[in-house]
Symmetry: C2
DNA sequence: CTGTTAGCGCATTCAG
DNA sequence: CTGAATGCGCTAACAG
């Protein structure tokens, strides 16, 4: 099956040098006379030599690959995953690392095995649910970085965007446009997944109201799931009472549903009710009018996370630079 | 950094057996007396032993990992990528394989290097543009499978859905509901990417019209890009003339835009104009009314592709089972 | 500057 | 059934 691959010995033989010399030119690890190098390079080219990865990995005790692991299989449905991957790949590729994907994380056993087997050198852990697993991490000596985890303890390498401040910005924005009866459509009140994010967003809402001098009205706060249908249902509930004049949604999907429910009810966006989304995903331009939405640069976040991990793996992570908060911008469009 | 990992020798020492015996129980490669096995297992447990992956890979000349490569970085933006990954992971995991992601493919040099280096055992190539690269593949002896590539030559392992028949089904459907003036909103007429898919879809449209006994009207065929905005623009153009009574779109995004343009024009969906999408992505439920859309099981396709590749790697791919067409179903919703 | 030598951790031949 | 010995392809001391 696998065609016999050429080895360093063959290259050395052909070039009339020792194996060491070949290794030296491959890794630029030692000075080699220009003409010897040339003949080695030539031999490599002719024989189409590529250094065997496994042998290298074994010798160096380094796999040159890292893993990206999501805490919930549902996350793969998120359209941001692909963009995130692209960002990580860019950073990893620049440093010669590979990205291996693990399926969703039930517990750490599989990940720890991969680490112990030397299959990977480190891990990027995305949106871990709070709980014992997260705390176990604090004891780890293995390189890892948390992704999208605002409440990570200090000292733990983390790349995140503050959902809280994103929602706050949305509330500020609609309040600045004179809206006073502001509703909030959030995610599931208690779920294994993303509770944290939900809590963050909810906190952003109450804080935003406080700053705007508005008493957050409990009847204007609705929990839902993160889906379009959930947004429709939640908004319908809000329309059963005196309608709000603005609705801040925890995701773009929810906002899409909200817009539909409002329009189906015979009201107009933004004239009667302003709506904000969250994530600035493509759903934000899938409504008419387009959605005002909180944007964070997913690709860049992936890039940063990978860079952080590499620094950590290579022992070049300086204290104070482990925690990276990515700013969120509110993109204002027609819905407000 | 990396804590010294325990080796087979240490396990052997502790269990009072030879290294061979340990290897035998780890790989179940030879008969071992039950009680010796027990003590070995016990020693492994106590020492927390995991076989070193690199050493194994070197010895067996097998990396136990495969790669998934997209032909265009833009593909990572596609929300289907994540789902696809999940499907592949499921199949790969069941056979002990890892998935490593490569960044977009410019040429094959990087992929071939990975193969030669023994870093991967095979590759899943997604939506390759037609051209010399594709033809080069026919000469490959390395294991690979094409994904989402309807026109692959026979004999080349391929998993795909017939876009053509999907569009045909959409045309059939609206024609069966009495629509006669059917428009088509397609992707870019000539693009490096996905030309093939576009051609396929266009062919599906003309074939569908033929079968319905409708002369395909060139003024009702509009090319665009694959975006929501593109759909809006294309539909606006169609509304400048005598409006169609149905619009078949090449993607859900285009359909979303089309629905907006129609409604903004003061017409109703589906009463005045029926609209169909394609992909049954989440965008299909991001309109009001919801979109009728052609559905294909992305996750299953990923699963199948991975299985095919594994069979190919392990030399268990029987002739006649290399080409797998996944059926497309038309999901009928409110837009028609 | 270059060649010799000794393993890295594991799977596997060949004797026992 | 078990054990000692060999080598996979490469890197890195150590000598020359």
């Amino acid at each position: 099956m696998t065609a016999r691959r050429t080895t360093m010995r063959e290259v050395a033989l052909k070039a009339g040098v020792s194996v060491f010399t070949v290794s030296a030119v491959v890794n630029a690890s030692a000075k080699v006379a220009t003409n010897t190098r040339q003949s080695v390079l030539e031999a490599m080219r002719v024989l189409d030599f590529e250094p065997n990865h496994a042998a290298r990995a074994m010798k160096l005790a380094k796999s040159m690959s890292v893993t990206y692991v999501v805490s919930d299989p549902g996350q793969f449905t998120d359209e941001a995953v692909g963009v995130n991957l692209a960002g990580m790949l860019e950073a990893l590729g620049a440093h010669g690392y590979n990205l291996v994907i693990e399926s969703a994380l039930k517990d750490f056993s599989e990940l720890k095995r991969a680490l112990r087997q030397g299959r990977i050198d480190g891990a990027i852990l995305s949106a871990m649910p709070p709980g014992p697993m997260l705390e176990e991490l604090l004891l780890w000596t293995q390189p890892f970085v948390l992704f999208d985890q605002p409440s990570a303890p200090t000292g733990v390498p983390t790349v995140f965007a503050s959902y809280r401040s994103g929602i706050e910005a949305a509330v500020d924005h609609v309040a600045a446009r004179g809206r006073r009866r502001i509703a909030f459509v959030g995610g599931p009140p208690v779920a294994q997944l993303n509770v944290l994010h939900n809590v963050e967003r909810y906190a952003g809402f109450t804080e935003g109201c406080r700053r705007a001098g508005i008493a957050a009205d409990p009847t204007l706060i609705v929990n839902s799931d993160f889906s379009i249908q959930g947004g429709r249902a939640a908004m319908r509930r809000l329309l059963e009472q005196t309608p709000p004049d603005a609705v801040v949604c925890a995701t773009d999907r929810l906002a899409v549903g909200a817009v539909h429910a409002i329009q189906a009810h015979g009201l107009r966006v933004p004239d009667d009710i302003a709506v904000t989304g969250f994530n600035d995903s493509e759903f934000a331009i899938a409504t008419d009018p387009l959605l005002t939405s909180a944007h964070f640069p997913v690709r860049e976040m992936g890039f940063r996370a990978a860079e952080l991990l590499i620094r950590r793996i290579e022992g070049r992570l300086l204290p104070g630079q482990e925690r990276l908060e990515i700013p969120i911008d509110l993109i204002v469009r027609g819905s407000t």
